[in-house]
Structure formats: structure tokens, C-alpha cells
């Protein structure tokens, strides 16, 4: 018997996970394969996580997500709120050359340059001349960004934007090493050529397996960066990620299986971190086609979605029911709920039946609609639940599920009746969400259009401070009352964070730069 036990022990040792190496290494769930390391040519949150570790914008985030000075030490704003002047910090690129205001000017102009074809360039349309240049009409000189000298950068805005400082933390506003981009062109961001000014620099990238970033010794604050290296593992399937976390292979996960939250909480207790995330999951109605151009139909359908049932039973990951489109977690903004939001569900069902009857739909002439969603377990569950709720109204619902590309392509072509969609703010400001309901916008899938709403939104661009917020709140109230779209719940970010990981602080933007993270034994 002894001999058997010894052999099993030997076998066990073979598979022993690696002895804790001297280096402090963090293993993070990476979500998906990053498409590129060039901060101007990425659009996914999993890609911006990696860019955030490699680059540092004028301003950057602290561990808790609050904005702190980054490449810029300070900035001054002109009284008309249009001109920002930034004082840069003395720091170098990872190849030793100093970071200058010229790099920022080159970067801002590069992302707006049509040839770069950056997906997210529209975020920088706030810069004077940016929209025209990016649209191919204006010339590059008209763009309102200029390096006064090596250490000062002046940026002119098209219209006052209190959120501009927050936006400088976004990867669209990251600097790029001018001398490297000019030398390597499109290939400058490949691991062998890339030069960064952030806390980490890519060391090795095996697509589909692992992307490793090592501490950048030239980083100005390298001394306080605890981690020596970070491994990103692109694991799309949540259950596989969960198994790997349980295996000790991951210290932090990118996501969590939503339908077994209770079991996971039971197993991992306080390692589960669920925080509200700046975004809303909603159904959009095709306002250009029958019967959804009729406000009553839209309101009837929106009010009979039992959001409490969805957020407590269908999806138990602690998501918050949404009645307004702008998430309640947005600081300084009072979310506008439609009038029926305060009524009990049964009252709402009765109201809805009258509205439907008023529009000529009832038992004899049932309303037939097609509810579209893209292939995903969560979307399917909610769609089934909603179709059951509407069925109780006498509405016949046909579910139609396609892959993501077809889904969004049809939404943009208004080839749908009711479609599932979601929007996460690019920067914490209501305008970024309300713009989705302005008429004519490409993201306004349902092409809802209301003159008063558009006017109010337009006006808000020229205002600032509390007055601007009031205007936007009035605009949202109109849209919500007219059920431009049916918000269902506000997103939340779900992570499993091992107990020995500190510096991974919950925040509304779900941004966790590795710079602040350390591992205690």
C-alpha cells in the first residue's frame, strides 16, 4: 500500500502548479484576443485594458477610477471653455526618447486622419476641425491641437465640454511615439517595434494563448509599480475561465457565468466583485414602421416588461432594473423615469391593455411582433421572459435569433420590429447616451425622432454646468415618456478577484490599471 501512495504523490507533484516564482506576476482573464496594441485602432473594452497598461494619456485613472494627472501635470481652461492648455510631465518613452507635446499633437491628428481609419475617431470630433478632417472635408491644419513647446500642449474644442478632461483618459486620447510610427508605419504597434509611455510594455504575445506585459523600467513612476509582469489570457467562455480561476491559473477573471451567481458566491464568498457599470441594456422599437410609429404601442410594450422579475429571477447577478436610459450610477445626473414607472406591475398591465385596445389591437386582432436578439445565453433568457410577459397581454411574439454581425447590420438598416441592444458610455457624461436618441444618428437604430428632444440636446451643447444637465434631463424625460426605447437593466461588471490581490478597486468604468495592483503572499 505504501508504494502505491508514494507513486500517486509523485504523479501529483508532476502536475504541481509552478512554485511561486520570485517575480510578482498577475494572471488576468483577458476576455478575447486583442485586435491590436495601437491605442487608436481598437474598440473593445478587453483591448483598452491592455492599452491602459501600456500607454498613459494626459490624465489617467487612480485605482478607484478617479481622474489623476498622467502625462500632464496640470491644465488651464480659457473662460469660454474652448481652449485647454496642458503642462506636460518630464517623462520618456520606453526607448528612452522624451515624450513631447509634439507626440500628443501627432497622435490627436493621427487618430482623426482618415487614412488611419480609427473605429473610435468620432470621440475626438469634440476637437475644433476634428469632425471635418476625419470626414475627409477639412485639412489636417484646421485641427485645433498645437504643441506650443515641448512641454505645453494647447487644444481648442469645437464646443465647451466639461467631460473633455475625463475623455483624455480614454485610449483615443493616448499619445503615440511619433518617431516610431513614422519609421514603421502600420506595423509600429507590433510587439517587436512598439514603444510605450505606460507602466508596462508587451513582452510576448501568442495569439489565442497569452499576452504578457512586463514592467516598463523607463516609466516615470516605475518605483511604485508592484507587479513585475501581467499575463492576459483570452478566454471567451465564462465557465472555462471559472474553472481556470478555481484551478489557481487566474488571479482575476474578466467575467463570470451570470446564471450560477449564487453557487459562485457560495463557493468564493467575498472574492466575487459585482459593481454597477456605466451602460444600459435596452430594447429598441423601429419607429419608422407600423405599428411602432404609434407611441401608445411602444409605451404599452415598454411598461409591461416586468423588470423586477428579470433582475431578480432571470438574471441573478445583482443587476439594477432600468426605467431611464441614462444609468442612475452616473454622478451628478438625475435619471428621468417615465410616468408609469412608479405604478405597480398589475396597474401597468391594465394601462397597457387599454392602450393596445385604443390602437385597435385586442383578442380578435392580436398584435404580432418579431423580437430579435443576437446569439447569447443571457439575451435568449431575457427575450424568452419578455415574450412570455407580452404573450400575457395577448401579443404574439416571434423570437428571431441571428449572429451578431447580421443582427447589428439589420438594426442599422431598420430591418426589424423590436431588437435587443446595449450601450456602455465612452466617458461618464449623459450626452454620450442621449445622442443615441437624436434623429438621424447611425446608433439610433429605431430612428426615433422628436423635434423638441433634438432642440434640447442641441441646446445642451452650448451650455455648461448645472444648466446643461437640466436641459439634458428635460430631453431624456420626453424620450422616456414617448418610449423611444425600452431600457431593461443597467449593466454591471462581474469579476472574481483572488483574496491575495489588492489594488483591484471596484469603479463605475470598470477600469483597473495593473499599475496599482499588487499581490500579497
Amino acid at each position: 500500500m505504501k508504494k502505491l501512495l508514494v507513486s500517486i504523490a509523485a504523479l501529483a507533484a508532476l502536475g504541481l502548479s509552478s512554485v511561486a516564482s520570485a517575480e510578482m506576476v498577475l494572471n488576468r482573464g483577458g476576455g478575447d484576443n486583442p485586435g491590436s496594441l495601437d491605442p487608436h485602432q481598437i474598440s473593445g473594452t478587453w483591448e483598452s485594458d491592455i492599452a491602459r497598461d501600456q500607454f498613459m494619456g494626459l490624465y489617467t485613472e487612480a485605482a478607484d477610477g478617479s481622474i489623476i494627472p498622467g502625462a500632464a501635470l496640470s491644465h488651464t481652461v480659457s473662460d469660454d471653455g474652448l481652449t485647454y492648455t496642458f503642462k506636460l510631465r518630464e517623462h520618456n518613452w520606453s526607448d528612452g526618447t522624451p515624450v513631447t507635446a509634439g507626440d500628443f499633437e501627432f497622435a490627436f491628428k493621427r487618430i482623426l486622419d482618415p487614412a488611419t481609419a480609427a473605429d473610435y475617431a468620432y470621440l475626438m470630433h469634440i476637437i475644433a476641425g476634428g469632425a471635418d478632417f476625419n470626414g475627409g472635408e477639412g485639412s489636417v491644419d484646421a485641427v485645433g491641437v498645437k504643441a506650443i513647446d515641448d512641454m505645453t500642449l494647447e487644444v481648442k474644442l469645437a464646443s465647451p465640454a466639461p467631460y473633455f478632461i475625463a475623455q483624455t483618459t480614454h485610449n483615443t486620447a493616448y499619445p503615440v511615439p511619433k518617431h516610431v510610427v513614422e519609421k514603421f508605419g502600420g506595423d509600429w504597434a507590433r510587439p517587436e517595434n512598439i514603444v510605450v509611455n505606460g507602466a508596462f510594455k508587451v513582452d510576448d504575445w501568442v495569439i489565442g494563448e497569452k499576452l504578457t506585459v512586463k514592467k516598463n523600467p523607463m516609466f516615470y513612476d516605475a518605483g511604485n509599480v508592484a507587479l513585475d509582469a501581467v499575463n492576459y489570457f483570452p478566454i471567451k467562455e465564462e465557465t472555462a475561465e471559472l474553472n481556470l480561476y478555481r484551478e489557481g491559473g487566474l488571479d482575476v477573471t474578466y467575467n463570470m457565468p451570470a446564471d450560477i451567481i449564487d453557487e459562485i458566491k457560495a463557493e468564493f464568498g467575498d472574492e466575487v466583485m459585482i459593481t454597477p457599470y456605466g451602460g444600459t441594456y435596452y430594447y429598441t422599437f423601429n419607429a419608422t414602421s407600423e405599428p411602432f410609429n404609434n407611441v401608445d404601442i411602444r409605451r404599452a410594450l415598454s411598461m409591461t416588461i416586468d423588470r423586477d422579475f428579470i433582475t431578480t429571477v432571470v438574471n441573478t447577478s445583482g443587476i439594477v432594473p432600468a426605467y431611464s436610459f441614462v444609468p442612475t450610477s452616473l454622478p451628478g445626473y438625475q435619471a428621468q423615469n417615465p410616468s408609469w414607472a412608479s405604478k405597480s406591475y398589475d396597474e401597468r398591465v391594465a394601462m397597457a391593455k387599454d392602450l393596445l385596445a385604443g390602437a385597435g389591437y385586442g383578442a380578435d386582432n392580436p398584435l404580432k411582433i418579431q423580437l430579435r436578439y443576437n446569439t447569447n445565453e443571457g439575451h435568449k433568457n431575457i427575450a424568452l421572459a419578455v415574450s412570455d410577459m407580452w404573450a400575457k397581454l395577448g401579443v404574439e411574439v416571434e423570437l428571431f435569433n441571428t449572429d451578431a454581425r447580421t443582427h447589428y447590420d439589420d438594426l442599422q438598416k431598420q430591418d426589424f420590429q423590436v431588437g435587443r441592444a446595449g450601450w456602455i458610455w465612452d466617458y461618464p457624461d449623459a450626452e454620450n447616451l442621449l445622442a443615441l436618441m437624436a434623429s438621424g444618428k447611425s446608433y439610433n437604430y429605431g430612428q426615433y425622432s422628436n423635434a423638441e428632444f433634438d432642440a434640447l440636446l442641441e441646446a445642451s451643447y452650448t451650455q455648461s454646468g448645472q444648466e446643461r444637465i437640466e436641459t439634458m434631463q428635460k430631453a431624456e424625460a420626453i424620450a422616456m415618456e414617448e418610449a423611444a426605447l425600452a431600457p431593461i437593466y443597467y449593466y454591471n461588471s462581474k469579476h472574481l478577484v483572488a483574496s491575495y490581490v489588492n489594488g483591484y478597486v471596484a469603479n463605475g468604468d470598470d477600469r483597473h490599471p495593473s499599475r496599482w495592483i499588487s499581490i500579497s503572499e
Binding site: Y122, E182, K210, E241, N243, E247
Partner: protein
């Protein structure tokens, strides 16, 4: 030798036909590579399509994909403008065949940067050369182009990193199925219609019947979690031989990024291997039965040879023949990756690219993966043919296999 050349010629034609087929039909699929939750606004979309030369006519794009497009001048508004085909004749002097409508070559000539002969072209063209990125170098020069959804990843990168990942679990699975399946098939044939025959076939059948989708998580649950928990309980809690924190595992069967040791490929091999096992057992059983009933085995018996020698020498080759025929095309599909295995065990590999290429409408990746699968199919068919001639001498010496 002529035979090999002919097969090589066939291969080239096949690759071009396959590419043409996929290229022309992939645009039929609704939606494009840039549709998504946050699609780029219209004017950005135009830039993106220009970046990938999707604004050109279909034939031009296909030519560009096959032979590489060297130069595209920069339009007035900074947008990529007209195409100049730069082809390099043998004598290596530059001839620009695009029509320049009388404009002198004064514009900046945009040169392909990383295509090997890009550097070379600079020496001959005295104009200031704007190293504006150009995308393609063409399949003829071994560049499968830039992925449309992952802006900085080339299809070549996917293959360079994905293929080894896939082979690491595909090859052991194939070998597992072969080295277990064939003997099982022989034993089943030798003890035909006995309990042993029945049990061999049903053991094989387990793999084919339980889908990979279920077998994966089932094995993870049983082996990686429960069994591991059991070892953990014994060695760490009871015997205290090994000091491990609760979170560290003893067997560590699940591939964790940290140590990609061979033990991590045990579970995937079991899953994929058993899926193949059933088929191979059945096929080698049929082949072996055929041989055991033959006269030449009776002759061998009359020579007083022991059973193991008869099985090993006389029955081996006819027994393997049907398996080889079957494995030809099938192993091509397996060697290029199985999405389910990669998905369940979060293994790197090509399998997921095959599927995501189609669902993401990543046209260049789609064409790249199709060509790779086709190359595998052709090469493996060729190997099967070679195996055939080795196995069945009658084919080699012109006789017909009776």
C-alpha cells in the same frame, strides 16, 4: 516524380478555385466585418473599407489578394486613391502598369512596407516614398493578408501561433484513437460475436455517442474537480505530504496559463480521442474480420504460426486499410482544430478562428483558414495514397487490388 508534380499542379488549381469560391460567396452573408454593438459611423466606415481595399471592384480585390497590390497613391483628401499595379518582371526593373492619365509620377508613390520587396523597390524609385501602410503582399508571396476584425493581426500570425496550439492536442488525440482503436478492433474481430467483441465495440461507441460538448465539462467535473479534490483531501489534509493552499490543485489537469505542462493535454486528448475511437474500432474490426476469414490466414494457421504472429503480420495491413481510407479526410478536419475542445478547455488553437472568421465576416481570415484546411486535406489525401501503395503492393506494381 511526375506523379508528385501532377498532384502539386492539381493542388494549385484547387487552392485558387477554393479561394475564388469563398471570395465570391462570403459577401453574400449579411452584415460586414465592421458591424457590431458600436459600429463606426458612416464616414469612418468609408475609411475602413478603403483601408482594406474593399471599395475596389471584386476582381481587383481578388487579384490584390492573390498577387498583392503594390502601390496605391494618396488621393487629394488624404484618402487612399487609385491603384497602381506594380508588378516585378524578372529583369527587376519597375514598371507601373496602372493608368495615370498623363499625370507625371510627381505624386508620392505609396510603397508597400513589409512586403519583402518593398525595401527593394525604394532603391529603384527615386521619388520620395511615403511609407504609408499598404495591406497586402499576396498569397503568391505567402502573405494571407490582414485580419479585418483584428486590425494588427495578420492571418499568418494566427497560423503561426494557432497551428502549434491545435496540433498539441490534435495529434495526441489521433494517435490515442489509432493506437487504442486498431488493437481493440482486432481483438473484437478475433473474438467475434463474443462478450469481448461486444464490450470492445460499446467502449468505442461511448466516444461517438456522448458529444464533445458534454464529454468535456463532464471530464472536467469528474477528473479535474472531484478527483483532484479527493487527492487534495488525501495528500494535503490527511497525510500532509504536500503543502498546498486550498486554491492550488494537486493534479492541475486544467490548462492554466502558468505551466502549460503536458499533463494539461490529458483531458482534451481523452475527449477528442474517444470521439474518434468508436469509428476506428468499428473500421479495423471490419477490416480484420475480412482478413481472418480469408484463405491466406488459413494457410498461415496451417503453417503452425501462433495467433499473435498471424494477427500482427497477416491481419495488420488489411485491418488498417479501411481505417486509413477513413482517416484521410477526417484527420484534416481534426488537425485544423476543434472549436469545442478549444472552447471548453480554453486552449489556444486554430479551431476558434475557423468559426469566428465566418461569424465575424472576417473575409481575409475566412479565406486564409479555408486555404489552410484545403492544404491539410490535400496533403493528407496524398499521404493516404502513399500509405495505400505501401500497404497494398498490388497498387504499387500496377496490379489491381482484387
Amino acid at each position: 516524380m511526375a506523379y508528385v508534380l501532377r498532384r502539386f499542379g492539381q493542388m494549385l488549381i484547387l487552392v485558387v478555385i477554393a479561394l475564388a469560391a469563398v471570395f465570391s460567396t462570403q459577401r453574400l452573408a449579411p452584415g460586414g466585418p465592421f458591424d457590431g454593438e458600436k459600429p463606426p459611423p458612416p464616414d469612418i466606415l468609408i475609411n475602413l473599407e478603403a483601408y482594406y481595399d474593399m471599395d475596389l471592384g471584386m476582381p481587383a480585390q481578388f487579384m490584390g489578394y492573390l498577387f498583392g497590390m503594390a502601390a496605391r497613391d494618396v488621393g487629394a483628401n488624404g484618402r487612399p486613391g487609385r491603384v497602381h499595379w506594380v508588378s516585378i518582371p524578372k529583369a527587376a526593373e519597375v514598371s507601373i502598369t496602372g493608368s495615370l492619365d498623363g499625370e507625371d509620377l510627381g505624386e508620392t508613390l505609396v510603397v508597400r512596407k513589409w512586403c519583402p520587396w518593398g525595401e527593394w523597390l525604394r532603391r529603384f524609385v527615386d521619388k520620395p516614398v511615403d511609407a504609408r501602410p499598404l495591406r497586402k503582399c499576396g498569397i503568391v508571396r505567402g502573405d494571407f493578408g490582414l485580419s479585418m476584425t483584428k486590425r494588427n493581426i495578420y492571418v499568418n500570425d494566427y497560423v503561426r501561433d494557432g497551428l502549434p496550439g491545435t496540433l498539441k492536442y490534435a495529434i495526441p488525440s489521433l494517435l490515442f484513437a489509432l493506437f487504442l482503436g486498431v488493437p481493440m478492433g482486432f481483438v473484437a474481430a478475433y473474438f467475434q460475436n463474443t462478450r469481448l467483441d461486444f464490450s470492445m465495440v460499446s467502449v468505442g461507441m461511448i466516444g461517438t455517442i456522448i458529444p464533445n460538448l458534454v464529454m468535456g465539462p463532464l471530464l472536467i467535473y469528474l477528473l479535474a474537480n472531484q478527483l483532484d479534490g479527493f487527492f487534495h483531501w488525501i495528500f494535503v489534509d490527511q497525510l500532509e505530504w504536500v503543502e498546498l493552499s486550498r486554491r492550488q490543485r494537486t493534479l492541475n489537469l486544467i490548462p492554466s496559463g502558468k505551466s502549460g505542462g503536458p499533463i494539461h493535454y490529458l483531458l482534451p486528448t481523452l475527449v477528442l480521442g474517444t470521439a474518434l475511437l468508436g469509428r476506428i474500432v468499428r473500421l479495423s474490426r471490419a477490416g480484420a474480420l475480412e482478413a481472418l476469414r480469408s484463405n491466406y490466414v488459413r494457410t498461415a494457421r496451417s503453417k503452425g504460426l501462433p495467433n499473435w504472429l498471424i494477427l500482427f503480420r497477416h491481419v495488420l495491413k488489411p485491418g488498417i486499410l479501411p481505417v486509413v481510407t477513413y482517416l484521410g479526410p477526417v484527420s484534416a478536419v481534426i488537425l485544423t482544430g476543434s472549436l469545442v475542445i478549444e472552447f471548453t478547455f480554453s486552449l489556444p488553437g486554430l479551431g476558434s478562428q475557423f468559426i469566428s472568421a465566418a461569424t465575424d465576416r472576417d473575409y481575409t481570415l475566412l479565406m486564409g483558414t479555408t486555404v489552410i484546411l484545403l492544404l491539410f486535406v490535400i496533403v493528407l489525401n496524398f499521404i493516404v495514397d502513399l500509405l495505400y501503395t505501401w500497404l497494398d503492393p498490388r497498387i504499387r506494381t500496377g496490379g489491381s487490388p482484387t
